[in-house]
Symmetry: C2
Subunit: 370 residues, 2 copies
Amino acid sequence: MKFTCHKNELVQAIQIVSKAIASKPQTPILSGIYFEAEGDQLELHATDNEIGIISVIPASVEQTGKLVLSGRYMQDVIRRLPGENVTISQEIGENTTKIKSGASNFTFLSMPANEFPTVKRLEEGIHFRIQDNVLRDIVKKTVFACSTDEARPVFTGCQLEINGETLTMAATNTHRLSVKKEVVADLSGDLRIIIPSKLLNELLRALNSDMPTEIDVRCSSNQASFHFDNVVLMSRLIEGQFPNYESVIPKSFDTTITLDTEAFLDAVDRVSLISRAADYNIIRLDFANGNVHISSNSPDIGNADETVAADISGPDVNIAFNAKYVTDVLKNIDSKTFRFLMNKSLQPATIREEDNPTFVYIVTPVRTQN
Amino acid sequence: MKFTCHKNELVQAIQIVSKAIASKPQTPILSGIYFEAEGDQLELHATDNEIGIISVIPASVEQTGKLVLSGRYMQDVIRRLPGENVTISQEIGENTTKIKSGASNFTFLSMPANEFPTVKRLEEGIHFRIQDNVLRDIVKKTVFACSTDEARPVFTGCQLEINGETLTMAATNTHRLSVKKEVVADLSGDLRIIIPSKLLNELLRALNSDMPTEIDVRCSSNQASFHFDNVVLMSRLIEGQFPNYESVIPKSFDTTITLDTEAFLDAVDRVSLISRAADYNIIRLDFANGNVHISSNSPDIGNADETVAADISGPDVNIAFNAKYVTDVLKNIDSKTFRFLMNKSLQPATIREEDNPTFVYIVTPVRTQN
């Protein structure tokens, strides 16, 4: 095997696929990056057996072949090479790989390429195309609400539901729920799957191009893949029953409050500097007289309070939340003002963007002593 | 106590003094920052009983006084306050401090100000003034060579020697030695002290102004202080006998090599990507035929080599070093080319800047098997 490619393109490809390598790989081969050179391109694969990433870059291939190198050193080594191009080669039957760029020569022990569980592209299942900014918005507005508790797997992913032309993404950790709907042209089908948040977070990171692009999405009964710009991210799905969340979304409200997103977020962020050291990070919100009084206290540290203007329609409300459950959503919505919709102080509250019915966030208040 | 000051000035002052707070303070009071408001200024103090930092900023003082607040929250809280100014107050006899800025109010439990070991300015000892860029250069070129092994304290600091008008700073970890001399106008005296590297590293960080400034240095038999721009850094000195290093500095050389600093540093940095995972980080340097061949190998990873042009005068040399002991010094010298001066391959080698006799670095080679 022997090929030459642009150093910067190779660095970027390694950076993308490396995200699939587990910090503690289950087997040694899973610590590696698989390289396959054929035709005029190089394919890189990495996987942790749950998610898998492929990146394809142009290469001048002198001799086709495949090899596996430890992911641990590749990024650092390739990035620092002195030349514009990199030549990578391995003699047939050898277990060492030569990397050459400018006056630099590296030789790495390589791993047996035949043993690498290459990432298989998904060919079956529901298939649709979606603009990157639309998909990014759907993922961004939901994935933060997932749980990180591996003991309850269904809450560590987002449910993707396809119902005719409507795509709905939902995430919950049982204390909060985030739901985003989008109508996608040419979409048709009937599907409910749970995609791991790990893959969706990598997708958000990878969808960082300034150039608009379309993403090719495929979903089977046990896998999902996202293909764009010569990158394929894929993942096993999470098995289990996602809760039927529709019944949790309140249909009517006693009090409707409109707030400036940035002013309220900044104030909550500041006031929660006091509470965030505690287990529950509780802030109190007292809505009355055209203001919200935000406060927190900690017996060990002190207390904080701040007042922000609020447009309140309906009875006054005194309510308390985990501050993180409020700031997380406000960091991910885009409207200059937002609506806080409430009933009694121990009933779930709703947050919606101004003039955007496609997004809804439900958060359960906490009971406080005073 | 009550005063008002600029938020940004206060943030910066807190940031500077916080460096003196230990990550695990010996006593609770040492986790605090001491504030003293008097006249038209606010003084902040912090200390870990070894080093101490004072920062002074202008303040509009309504009521003089002093208080101690936990350093842990102050930086985050003050930085995020919404207003341009901050008002801090504490009623006499109370143990809570109010911080107010814009619509934000914080109350923090405070600590007893009388119990704080305030940092005392040094009034005695040798005293001289030195330009910031001169002092920065002296410290930068030596402090990196200190040891971090607390078991042998004298090697964790730099020896400052004053002999008439000549100031000499030296540091060693017994495997390498860095010495920088400077003639300072108006300096006179006879002194040898060991200043902890921790203080010198903070000094480097604090000396980051674009505006030229003069530093007021004072050294007594057990303390040193550096005073500039309303900041005082001071430290206890390290007790013990710094080794007599003059005899270690080779006086003659068999082989003199001139190298391009950046090209050689980059190459050593790359080649050591292979060796740095190992305990000794060994690179081989083979000087011959107008080149240096730099190589490293690790049985578990692979090997690397690179060739850089070298102007060699004298016999060829094959030698090996801990790569870090070579790259550390090259990152801190300023000349475009430098001289590598050697005798036999197991005798200490010398590195000097081109045309700068005031700096010398000695590094002990390592014995390798081949």
